[in-house]
């Protein structure tokens, strides 16, 4: 017997969903609220009503330049994503469409690199960067972000490509399409949603990455993550300014995420629903 969905059920489920969503969103909300408080209010204790001052934003802007780290964030997140796609697409294609007995092992090995704690390789990485002159350069950071996100990019693309039936590609081959035409007219149009959502997710991951970007940059290449961190330094902790800086840092990605949420949800759930 089909389960009857009563109105009470619906209300309970909806309320529960809102509560969970609110709990997840609360830290971000509190950051934004705090950014509109004075420093005194910020350390006074939990309060959801800020006095509504904009002085933190003005302070943050006057103390440090926001646009340089912003530009760096854009360069390294977009740059690393494009390079990861350039490597990931052919890799995922070949694994999805001409798998060998070892393909699964290769995929697992790639994923296993994500299980390693990053701090484990911090020292060798730092030394390598120092000795090759990559320390505090956007190209160095782009390279690191490309490498740490590549396994996820390949995994996502692989799952997506696996959903494209091989028979369609064979049909194209029978219809006289060359490999180039097969990719341009058949494969790419069918894979675009998958590539797009992979790209969006990877930009977000790269944008938010803090461990390597803070440790391998100083002034020149510092992205927004380092910009935030710089507000908890020598002069002491300034919660309200820190919050204002954080809000500024997450705003671009929050806005992008908002507009592309449909694409993102599809990207993250593909393969789950047939």
């Amino acid at each position: 017997m089909a389960r009857a969905v009563t109105t009470r059920h619906k209300i309970t489920a909806t309320t529960a969903a809102w509560v969970v969503a609110f709990l997840i969103f609360f830290p971000i909300l509190y950051t934004i609220l705090t950014s509109f408080k004075t420093e005194a209010e910020a350390i006074a204790g939990v309060s959801l009503i800020p006095s509504g001052t904009f002085e933190n934003y003005v302070e943050v802007q006057s103390q440090r330049d926001y646009f340089k780290p912003f530009a760096n964030s854009v360069i390294i997140s977009v740059g690393s994503t494009l390079i990861a796609l350039l490597i990931g697409i052919p890799a995922a294609w070949s694994m999805a469409f001409s798998p060998t007995r070892r393909t699964k092992d290769v995929l697992m090995w790639m994923l296993s690199t994500k299980m390693m704690p990053a701090v484990g390789v911090l020292v060798p990485m730092y030394l390598l960067f120092r000795d090759t002159g990559l320390l505090d350069t956007t190209s160095g950071l782009t390279m690191v972000l490309t490498l740490i996100n590549l396994p996820i990019v390949i995994w996502m693309l692989y799952t997506y490509f696996r959903e494209i039936p091989g028979e369609i590609l064979e049909a194209a081959r029978m219809d006289g399409a060359s490999l180039f035409n097969e990719i341009v007219y058949v494969l790419t149009p069918m894979a675009v949603p998958g590539i797009a959502s992979t790209m969006l997710l990877n930009i977000i991951l790269a944008w938010n990455e803090a461990f390597w970007t803070i440790r391998l940059s100083a002034a020149n290449a510092a992205p927004l993550t380092a910009f935030i961190a710089s507000f908890s330094s020598p002069q002491g902790l300034f919660w309200a300014k820190l919050s204002a800086a954080s809000t500024l840092a997450i705003a671009p990605i929050l806005i992008m995420g908002w507009f592309s949420q449909k694409q993102l949800v599809r990207g993250l759930t593909f393969g789950a629903v047939k």
Binding site: P165, E167, I168, E170, A171, A172, R173, M174, D175, G176, A177, S178, N181, Y185, V186, P189, M190
Partner: protein
């Protein structure tokens, strides 16, 4: 023209031999059906001809030209897949036009050919739709349309009707046969359904475990199956097989009688038995009779025959229609 010759074609996947070694001649304009149980290698054989799989050894020639090492597109064949394999992001029009675009035809020619194909296949009203907006039968027709616009040397069908319901399957069967008469092009058709094989083929190739068991016209295979496998596979319902003393008396290890070659009587006959299940199809009735002499036998009779579960009957096989097989399963003539 579209004659295809397979010469000692062999295919292995790693250590697994799928097709040991096959020789086969397909004449121009013939409708050839590859039939056999699942996993008998019939689809693999079709894909070898298409060029979607490489042969491990042997040669494939089309119209006298060796195409063994050629890419699928160069062989001049068109294929209809079981899943239809339509391009989901293209309209019906563009799906049908795709092979022509790939061949670099100009727009006017493409348009004319696509519209002609659409008219033949009753798709004119659906040209602007996407495949997802079509029914199974319509999708199948689009797949056929995509195949016919190129005027290929031969059509390859890989179980094209198995995703359709029974009624539609019957209609599409007729349509494909009709198309064969219209186009007079070689067609190779793969199926596991012996009814499709019997009704459509000029020539049936019965495959089992990668080997060709027998090649012949539907009626040849029906009348004189070369061995037990073919005898059991061709014909519906299946041929009855009887061993033991009954077969020994006729000088065979096993004898086979088709359900339609058995007479049923209430009073006298060779094999007494009791009626088990009866299946009424309207025009025909199939009786499953349990006999001490011959085991369980299926007999076919006209639909009006009034016999019921548990009644005693006598079965008499038609002498002239008994097939005899030796210990290896080969037919004895």
């Amino acid at each position: 023209m579209g004659s295809i010759t397979l010469n000692k074609v062999n295919k292995s996947f790693g250590a697994t031999m799928v097709i040991p070694e096959i020789d086969l001649q397909i004449d121009d304009g013939e409708f050839v059906v590859f039939v056999g149980p699942s996993g008998c290698g019939k689809s693999t054989l079709l894909r070898l001809i298409a060029g979607l799989e490489d042969t491990s050894s042997g040669h494939i020639t089309i119209d006298g030209r060796d195409v063994t090492a050629e890419a699928p597109a160069k062989r001049g064949l068109a294929m209809v897949f079981q899943s239809y394999a339509l391009y989901p992001h293209m309209s019906v029009y563009n799906n049908i036009a795709f092979p022509l675009k790939m061949a670099g035809e100009d727009k006017g020619v493409i348009d004319k050919k696509v519209r002609d194909a659409a008219r033949i296949l009753n798709l004119t009203d659906y040209l602007e739709r996407r495949p997802s907006q079509l029914s199974g039968g319509q999708r199948q027709r689009v797949a056929i349309g995509r195949a016919i616009v190129r005027q290929p040397k031969a059509f390859l069908f890989d179980e094209p009707l198995s995703n359709l319901d029974a009624a539609l399957r019957g209609t599409m069967r007729l349509e494909i046969s009709e198309l064969h008469h219209q186009l007079a092009t070689t067609m190779i058709y793969v199926t596991h359904d012996q009814v499709e094989a019997m009704t459509m083929a000029d020539k049936i190739v019965v495959l089992n475990a990668g080997r060709i068991e027998q090649v012949g016209s539907p009626m040849d295979l029906y009348r004189s199956p070369r061995n037990l496998f073919v005898a059991g596979f061709i014909g519906s319902p299946r041929m009855n097989f009887v061993g033991g003393d009954t077969a020994k008396k006729l000088g065979a290890d096993t004898i086979g009688v088709r359900p339609e070659h058995i007479e049923i009587s209430r009073t006298s006959g060779e094999w007494p038995g009791t009626i088990g299940v009866t299946e009424h199809l309207g025009s025909d009735t199939f009786l499953h009779v349990h006999s001490d002499v011959a085991g369980t036998i299926t007999a076919r009779t006209s639909g009006e025959f009034d016999l019921h579960h548990g009644e005693h009957v006598f079965l008499t096989p038609n002498r002239g229609r008994i097939h005899r097989f030796d210990a290896e399963g080969a037919a004895i003539n």
